[in-house]
Symmetry: C2
DNA sequence: CGGCAGTTTGATGTTACTCAATTTAAGTGG
DNA sequence: CCACTTAAATTGAGTAACATCAAACTGCCG
């Protein structure tokens, strides 16, 4: 079960972990990707507060991190794309800070977490990758706080579309501004603190204005500049 | 200029940095606290994106981290109490992710940031402190995202009061449920994505119900259990 | 005493939520 | 290929929460 196709163009996380494991700089040499797991759409992969003896990385498909309140309200913290670690912090925290659910069918790979002693002995390269990934993760959280605290529904939705489109573009060639987009209205709503009904209204407004069309799990951006203008610079 | 009084009961950050610097386990031995800075209420201490060659720690007073949008909207990310590092991530990120302003008169101490090589050579104790502080900082961000995304104005304000009261209690002896509370309505509003006017209304509602009174920079909690019941468990 | 910044209160407006009905899309089994 | 079922999206009407605007009030300091 090779996973040399597992892309991680953002953080180099996969490659670095493989390197740390196999002791070689070339992921292709790290013969066997460890413990590959498959999950079906909607399936919960990890539970908040559960002990997490391993580091999880999404290999294929989409997933999302979320927190559920006692009364059923749900906050989606972010969406995971292939190559994303579930959480950078999880490298040194043996407890999950949030739950993760599969959005599409997914493949997840698991690494043994290095213990405290092993973490101290890690290479500079590994440590730098960790530090950068940690910074980016934190920057993402700060940005989301700012969006939720200051932006209108239109701005929030435009932000999410732009944000995901950018990450998708970095991972694969996109033609005609057409992106795979497996989120239901409910997911968009729970990520942005809105209701599905209101998301639907805003999206049809976007459609009427010729900004973008979201249907059948495909996002089509028709007027990128105008859509970008809706997102406040953070 | 000694700073042995500088408390940091949460993360042990101060002590650990001093230890790393002085090479001794007892902060009291680390004779000179480095580069102490004073700032007046309202004064900006650091600016977002500015290069930050040093690690900053709040020694005395209150401050807050925030992000400002181009159009003047402001998101307060959190409040700093004595002993808090401005940001844990700042230990390995030479750029500020947010601005910081003094709320009261403050004292700030500055440490030289260890370079990449020095960070690799740090003691296990130091690294563990860093990892834990990093985890807690991230957990705080996730919690705030959840509060902003799912909670009503009443719940948000109750959360903020409870959250700050807990941190204050951990730092000093509080009598009669009476806390120092130098925030203006504007700060509460900008931290929670509300307007000062609405915060005022909710607070007078709390007062009418005998939950708490906020005036003259003092927060008086009159009915802790009832106030706590407003905060959804996260 | 006057002026200023912050808070409170009232009246009104807007945004987004709720409830409910309808339409569309996606399966499923005959 | 076509009924039938089910989940999701859309649309409309009414409502609640919060924002905005503006005026009055408070405490503070010169």
């Amino acid at each position: 079960m090779l996973c040399v196709t597992c892309p991680n163009r953002d953080s180099g996380f996969c490659g670095t972990l493989l390197e740390a494991k196999a002791g070689t700089a070339d992921p292709r040499r790290a013969a066997h990707w460890p413990q590959l797991q498959i999950a079906r759409p909607g399936e919960q992969i990890t539970a908040r507060n559960a002990p997490a003896p391993q580091i999880l990385i999404l290999c294929a498909g989409w997933a999302y991190r979320y927190i559920e309140l006692a009364d059923g309200r749900r906050q989606i913290l972010g969406f995971l794309l292939p190559g994303d670690p579930f959480s950078v912090v999880s490298v040194f925290d043996p407890h999950m800070q949030f739950s993760v659910k599969a959005l599409t069918e997914v493949q997840v790979s698991r690494f043994e977490r290095p213990d405290a002693r092993a973490r101290g002995a890690m290479s500079d390269r590994f440590r730098l990758t960790m530090e950068n990934a940690s910074r980016d993760e934190h920057a993402g959280a700060i940005e989301l706080i700012t969006v939720l605290g200051t932006c209108s529904a239109e701005e929030r939705i435009a932000y999410l579309l732009q944000h995901l489109a950018q990450r998708l573009k970095a991972r694969s060639v996109i033609r005609d501004q057409s992106y795979p987009f497996p989120l239901r209205l409910r997911h968009i709503a729970d990520a942005l603190g809105l209701t599905p009904v209101h998301v639907s209204r805003v999206l049809s407004h976007f459609r009427d204005r010729g900004l973008c069309v979201l249907s059948n799990g495909i996002l089509n951006v028709l007027n990128q500049p105008e859509l970008d203008r809706l997102v406040p610079a953070i």
